[in-house]
C-alpha cells in the first residue's frame, strides 16, 4: 500500500497537532520523512532567531504624538476643522462629489527625486479618477480614508505649530501612503460595499 506523507502532515506532527495515528507510525519507519521532520524543526528554530527588535527612526514618536494631537484637536473642533487648512469641509466634499485634496501645487512640485515624482504623478491620476465618481457613498470607510488623507496632506504641508521638518525618506513614505490610500478609496468607490474588505484607521 502506498503511503504519502506530505509536508502538511509533517508540519502537523512537528507542531503537535492532532494527526492520524497510522501516519505517525508510518513516519517512524521512514528515514526520509524523519530527516525532513528534523529539517522543518530546525527551520522553525532558525526563523525564531530572525525575530528581531528594530529601533524605529528617532523622530517617529514625535510624529506620532503630533498626529494624535492633530486628530484630537480636529475631534474637539469638529470635523470641518480637520479640513480647514485645506479650505474644505468633509461634509461638503462628500456631498458634492468634489474631491480636491489639500496638497498645494508648490508642494506637489517640490519633488526632488524621481521616486517621489512618480508617486506625485500617480496621486494626480488617482485623484482625477476619483473625481469622475459622481456619487460618492459618504460611507464611514470613505470618510475615514479622507481624514487619513487629510492628515497626510497636513504633514506634507507642515501644517500646525507642532509641525516637524520632513526628511526626504519621510516625505517619500507619506507620498507612498497617499497613493495607497487613494487606490483604496478608488476601489471602495468602484466596488459594491459588501465585497470590500477595509480596516478603518
Amino acid at each position: 500500500m502506498e503511503r504519502k506523507s506530505n509536508l502538511e502532515h509533517l508540519l502537523a506532527i512537528r507542531d503537535g497537532e492532532p494527526v492520524d495515528a497510522a501516519q505517525v507510525a508510518a513516519i517512524g519507519g521512514d528515514v526520509q520523512a524523519q530527516q525532513l521532520l528534523g529539517e522543518l524543526t530546525a527551520a522553525r528554530a532558525a526563523l525564531r532567531q530572525l525575530d528581531v527588535a528594530v529601533p524605529p527612526s528617532p523622530d517617529l514618536w514625535a510624529r506620532i504624538e503630533a498626529r494624535a494631537d492633530r486628530q484630537a484637536r480636529s475631534r474637539h473642533g469638529g470635523q470641518a476643522a480637520r479640513w480647514g487648512w485645506a479650505g474644505l469641509a468633509a461634509g461638503v466634499l462628500l456631498a458634492s462629489g468634489v474631491f480636491l485634496l489639500g496638497v498645494p501645487e508648490s508642494s506637489r512640485l517640490a519633488a526632488p527625486d524621481s521616486g517621489i515624482s512618480e508617486l506625485v504623478a500617480r496621486s494626480r491620476v488617482l485623484e482625477r479618477e476619483i473625481l469622475q465618481v459622481n456619487q460618492p457613498s459618504g460611507s464611514s470607510s470613505e470618510q475615514a480614508l479622507m481624514f487619513r488623507l487629510a492628515d497626510i496632506d497636513a504633514e506634507l504641508n507642515g501644517v500646525g505649530g507642532d509641525a516637524i521638518p520632513l526628511t526626504a525618506a519621510r516625505r517619500a513614505a507619506l507620498w507612498q501612503r497617499r497613493v495607497e490610500l487613494l487606490e483604496t478609496l478608488r476601489a471602495l468607490q468602484s466596488t459594491p460595499a459588501p465585497q470590500v474588505q477595509f480596516a478603518v484607521y
Binding site: 504519502k4 509536508l7 526520509q32 529539517e39 525575530d51 517617529l60 506620532i64 507612498q176
Partner: protein, 193 residues
C-alpha cells in the same frame, strides 16, 4: 518565547497607557515599537511601509487603549492591530505592485543586529516567499497563532493557512538545501514510500 510574547511591560506603564497618560504612552512606545517595527518589516518587506504601520498602530494606542479592559491584554491588542495593519497593506494594489517590482529591504542589512550561522540564508529565503505565505509562516511559527486564527484573520480557512505554511516551507527548505549544494526542485519535498 518568541515574538510579542518577549515583551515585558511593567504593570504601572500598562496601567498608565490605559488611563491615557502621555508619559506612559512614550515609555510603552519605547518598549514595544521595536517589536512592532520588526514584525511589520518582516511581513511587508519594506522599512518605510513598516514605519507607517508603527505610526498607525501607536496613534490607535493613544486614541483607543482606554477601551482595553485589562493591562494583561494590552500587548496582545497591539499585536492584533499590527497584524491587521500589515494585512491591509498587503492587500493594497500599491503594495502588491511594489512587491512584484522591487526587492525587499532586508533586516539583516541592519548594523549591529546579532546574526547566527545560517540565519542570513533563511532570511534570504523568506524574501523569496509570496507576502501572504510569509505572513502565515511568521504568524504561525514565530507569533504562535493557530491555523484557525490565521484563517479568520485572512478571511479564509484553517486549511488555507496549513497549505500556505507547507508551501512556504517547501520554498524555504529548497533554498536552504540549495545553499548546501543539494539541489531540490520545488514539488519534490513530499516524501513517498
Amino acid at each position: 518565547m518568541t515574538g510579542f510574547a518577549n515583551i515585558a511591560v511593567p504593570p504601572e506603564i500598562a496601567r498608565g497607557v490605559l488611563r491615557g497618560d502621555r508619559a506612559s504612552h512614550g515609555h510603552f512606545f519605547r518598549l514595544v515599537s521595536p517589536r512592532v517595527l520588526g514584525m511589520a518589516w518582516r511581513m511587508l518587506g519594506n522599512r518605510m511601509a513598516a514605519e507607517e504601520v508603527v505610526q498607525d498602530v501607536f496613534v490607535r494606542v493613544i486614541e483607543n487603549a482606554s477601551d482595553v479592559r485589562a493591562v494583561e491584554a494590552l500587548v496582545g491588542w497591539v499585536r492584533s492591530i499590527t497584524v491587521n495593519e500589515c494585512l491591509m497593506r498587503l492587500r493594497s494594489p500599491w503594495h502588491q505592485r511594489r512587491a512584484a517590482e522591487e526587492p525587499d529591504d532586508r533586516i539583516d542589512d541592519l548594523d549591529g543586529e546579532s546574526r547566527v550561522a545560517g540565519e542570513s540564508d533563511i532570511e534570504r529565503a523568506l524574501t523569496l516567499l509570496q507576502p501572504e505565505t510569509r505572513m502565515v509562516i511568521w504568524l504561525h511559527d514565530v507569533e504562535g497563532y493557530t491555523h484557525r486564527e490565521i484563517g479568520e484573520l485572512m478571511g479564509k480557512t484553517a486549511s488555507f493557512s496549513k497549505s500556505q505554511l507547507a508551501r512556504g516551507y517547501e520554498t524555504l527548505l529548497a533554498h536552504w538545501r540549495k545553499q548546501d549544494g543539494k539541489k531540490i526542485e520545488p514539488g519534490t519535498l513530499a516524501c513517498h514510500s
